[in-house]
């Protein structure tokens, strides 16, 4: 399989004949088939979705015959699903459609994706250095509580953010000590971290607030208002939270650090072959410690978004992360341990959450069921039906210095 860079060097005609390109095109067309039937295009006949879907499926079959079987079948599936969704959409009323699919869907998707992006980037660094981190959930929860506590007592959301990051980092340091220094089983350690976080945040929430809700008027994470954007573009990105924008930057930074710097190379070396990394003089423990602590800091930032962001509104609830740390973990895996992959997965999962909310105009129960999408997709991804996810080779294995 050639790299993207090599493929881009080929002439256009050769690129079009590349089965990978047609496979991806088929998948995109399949998604487009469903997209045709919803606003803003909103074709009211079933012809267009079916036509585009068939083209997508045909491209898929062509890809299969060229040897890229998984990708090809993925495109066929995308085409068929696109046809199905398109037909469904043309059968529902336009008012329902336009209330479910408007530009606020974009803003909501980004809003739901933001905590996932931060936690997923954290998890990715940890796993790239060879430490599995299923404690992301607990680290987020710590960030959610101590962040809102800091903002309440410090009087400023910046204080809250700093407190959340510090607590998240310290909490991750505990995990790192057990997982790296004591070489405890990392899954067991992560499970312990999740238990501890539920207990600690629940305990101190009641201890510090006497079983009352956190008072109103806590300084919240501000939204970034972009003046001059109006209409649907303004609705979509004109009023996003500051952390949402920071998340975009973080993904870029994570990519550059991980794949374009010497530090990133060292991190990946520790995750792939720690003994070799040790041999060439890399301090495996130091790298792993740094990455795990970083994952705690980032997960805590994701957590503070839940309590201090636009949806949380300065409140803390018992166990309020409610599985988002695990979705972030899923995003890391679904994104194949890569920054943009994990970012895309986080967006997809955020989209499914946003859609689950929006689809309640049709039926509340169907909206609930839509929440399983991230998990089913990740299950399919690890099962290797469409493409295969490959973890870092030494992910989850404690390293003993010699």
């Amino acid at each position: 399989m050639s790299t993207w860079a090599e493929r881009l060097d080929n002439p256009v005609s050769a690129r079009l004949r590349d089965p990978a390109a047609t496979g991806y095109l088929g998948i995109i067309l399949g998604a487009f088939a469903a997209f045709l039937a919803i606003p803003p295009i909103e074709a009211r006949t079933i012809t267009w979705p079916i036509l585009v879907g068939i083209v997508a499926a045909a491209l898929g079959i062509w890809t299969v015959t060229r040897g890229r079987r998984r990708l090809g079948w993925g495109a066929v599936a995308a085409g068929l699903v696109g046809i199905g969704l398109g037909i469904l959409a043309t059968h529902s009323s336009t008012t329902n459609l336009s209330s479910a699919f408007d530009s606020t869907l974009v803003a909501q998707t980004l809003g739901f994706a933001t905590p996932l992006v931060f936690a997923a980037m954290g998890g990715m660094f940890s796993e790239r250095s060879g430490v599995v981190n299923i404690g992301l959930e607990g680290m987020m929860l710590m960030g959610a509580f101590w962040g809102v506590y800091g903002a309440d007592k410090g009087g400023n959301w910046v204080v809250g953010l700093l407190v959340a990051m510090a607590v998240g980092g310290l909490f991750a340091l505990v995990y790192a000590f057990f997982a790296i220094q004591l070489r405890a089983d990392q899954i067991v350690g992560g499970t312990a971290i999740n238990f501890l976080a539920v207990g600690i945040t629940g305990f101190f929430f009641i201890q510090l607030y006497n079983n009352n809700p956190i008072p109103n008027g806590v300084s919240l994470l501000p939204n970034v208002n972009i003046p001059g954007l109006s209409g649907s573009l303004g609705q979509a990105i004109g009023d996003l939270n500051i952390l949402t924008w920071a998340g975009f930057v973080l993904v870029l930074v994570a990519y550059v650090v991980l794949f374009k710097t010497a530090i990133g190379l060292r991190i990946r070396a520790c995750g792939e072959h720690p003994r070799a990394a040790d041999t060439v003089g890399i301090d495996v423990y130091a790298i792993r410690y740094a990455c795990v602590v970083l994952s705690g800091v980032l997960a805590a930032v994701g957590g503070i978004y839940l309590s201090e962001g636009p949806q949380g509104n300065g409140t803390f609830l018992f166990d309020m992360t409610n599985g988002r740390g695990f979705i972030a973990l899923a995003a890391v895996i679904f994104g194949n341990w890569r920054p943009f992959g994990a970012f895309g997965a986080a967006l997809l999962f955020g989209f499914s959450s946003a859609l689950a909310l929006k689809l309640q105009v049709y039926s509340q129960s169907a909206g609930t069921l839509f929440n399983i999408l991230p998990y089913v997709l990740t299950l399919i991804a690890v099962a290797g039906v469409i493409g295969r996810t490959v973890p870092p080779a030494a992910d989850g294995q404690p390293y003993a210095k010699q």
């Binding site: 312990a192 039926s363 998990y375």
Partner: protein, 414 residues
């Protein structure tokens, strides 16, 4: 067992090491001792730290000690001093409720332990519990009017098999494409959670038919309910699910120690390569062990449903609802994945959970809602320490074992 010249698997649990010679004999003695000593040390460690945390936040060591004494009483363990069979006695009632929680935790603990013995980490007990619960509810609501014994059996077997099949998905994925069971079972947990939420949610297929505004399932028909053997009018009694759980402890021990299946499962858990070399079908055992593990967790859901709960409502059961499967991990780890150990650990956690919340309802020194978080802290500390027996062994003073262990190369990087 001799491994063929393939890459060595991650180091097995300490008690599995066995080098010939006097060193091995000495170690075996120590590890057997460690088998009891480490869990006890862990619990003591975790309790001491928790007492210290409570003492620090309440600014009084005395308050903290009284609070933990009240947790002990709240679990009904003071019943031992004044035994009575009358549930109207507070201690007897508390003990009965602790036993109910213990039955569930025994089963979720056995579930995790069985998968562990095959070298797998079944983190999906929660999802399997939900599947067992909801299928038992569905079967218990359908066939109303059947005679009790077949109805109970149908609901139990149905719920258990459904959970076994559900866990089997993770086993099949591991056996066929090598997907890591931790990831797949986490995903299956949440799939089960949202599916059940949908099933009993507003407009869902299993939502109760009388009150469509309430996200509750239908009540299990009286014919499918597990009879109580210790109870009083107006009090929730202890149902025969406790005996089901105790029977499963025996079944677990027989399966693991006295059958070919258990031998193969342990061999695969010990070293899959060596097991394959010895002619054992590793993939079959992955699937089989996962399904049996799921059956235990599913049975926990079944007895909760047919016993005390009889309908499903989020957060309605006594055991903190979203957590029993996860607590099973702590139970199994503390019980060192043995039948007897799991039983003892389940009693500890059952008492801790019930005693620290409901039992403290009338506490004079500590807010019960505050205390309800203590089990999570204790449990987190226990799991943290049990995963790091190196630390505890050094505390115990087994410097020799520590040095011996750290001289072993770790992981595939060796």
């Amino acid at each position: 067992m001799t491994a063929p010249g393939k890459s060595p698997s991650p180091p097995p649990a300490p008690e599995e090491f066995g080098d010939p010679g006097t060193l091995a004999a000495r170690l075996a003695v120590k590890q057997r001792a460690g088998g009891i000593v480490i869990p006890i040390l862990t619990v003591v460690f975790a309790l001491v730290i928790s007492i210290a945390v409570v003492a620090a936040t309440q600014h009084s060591v005395h308050t903290s000690l009284v609070a933990f004494k009240e947790i002990f009483d709240g679990a009904g363990l003071n019943w031992i001093a004044h035994p009575t069979t009358n549930l109207q006695n507070l201690a007897a009632y508390n003990l009965s409720q602790t036993l109910l929680q213990t039955s569930t935790l025994i089963l979720t603990g056995l579930s995790v332990a069985f998968a562990f013995r095959c070298g797998m980490f079944n983190i999906g007990g929660q999802g399997q519990y939900f599947v067992g619960l909801i299928v038992a509810n569905w079967l218990g609501v359908s066939f109303a009017g059947m005679s009790p014994l077949p109805h109970i059996l149908i609901a139990m077997v149905g719920g258990t098999l459904a959970a076994a099949a559900y866990a089997g998905i993770a086993g099949v994925l591991k056996a066929t494409v090598g997907a890591h069971e931790v990831i797949t079972t986490i995903m299956l947990n949440w799939i089960a959670f949202w599916t059940v939420s949908w099933l009993i949610g507003a407009g869902g297929p299993l939502q109760n038919s009388t009150d469509p505004t309430n996200p509750v399932s239908n009540q299990v028909a009286p014919s499918a309910r597990l009879p109580d053997f210790w109870g009083a009018q107006g009090f929730q009694g202890v149902h025969i699910g406790l005996f089901v759980a105790l029977a499963c402890v025996v079944v677990f021990w027989i399966l693991i120690s006295r059958t070919t299946l258990g031998y193969e499962v342990r061999a695969v858990g010990f070293n899959p390569d060596a097991a394959a070399y010895g002619g054992i079908n590793v993939k079959k055992n992955f699937i089989r062990a996962m399904a049996i593990s799921g059956a235990f967790a599913g049975l926990a859901g079944v007895i909760d449903m047919l016993g005390g709960a009889t309908n499903y409502q989020y957060g309605q059961l006594d055991v903190p609802f979203s957590q029993v499967g996860f607590i099973g991990i702590a139970v199994a780890l503390l019980g060192r994945n043995t039948a007897l150990g799991t039983l003892l650990a389940a009693i500890l956690f059952g008492g801790l959970l019930y005693g620290s919340f409901h039992g403290l309802g009338s506490s004079s020194v500590i807010d019960p809602t505050l205390a309800s978080n203590i089990p999570y802290i204790v449990q987190g500390l226990i799991v943290l320490f049990i995963g790091a027996d190196v630390l505890l062994m050094s505390v115990w003073g087994s410097r020799k074992k520590l040095r011996w262990r750290s001289s072993k190369p770790a992981g595939a990087s060796a």
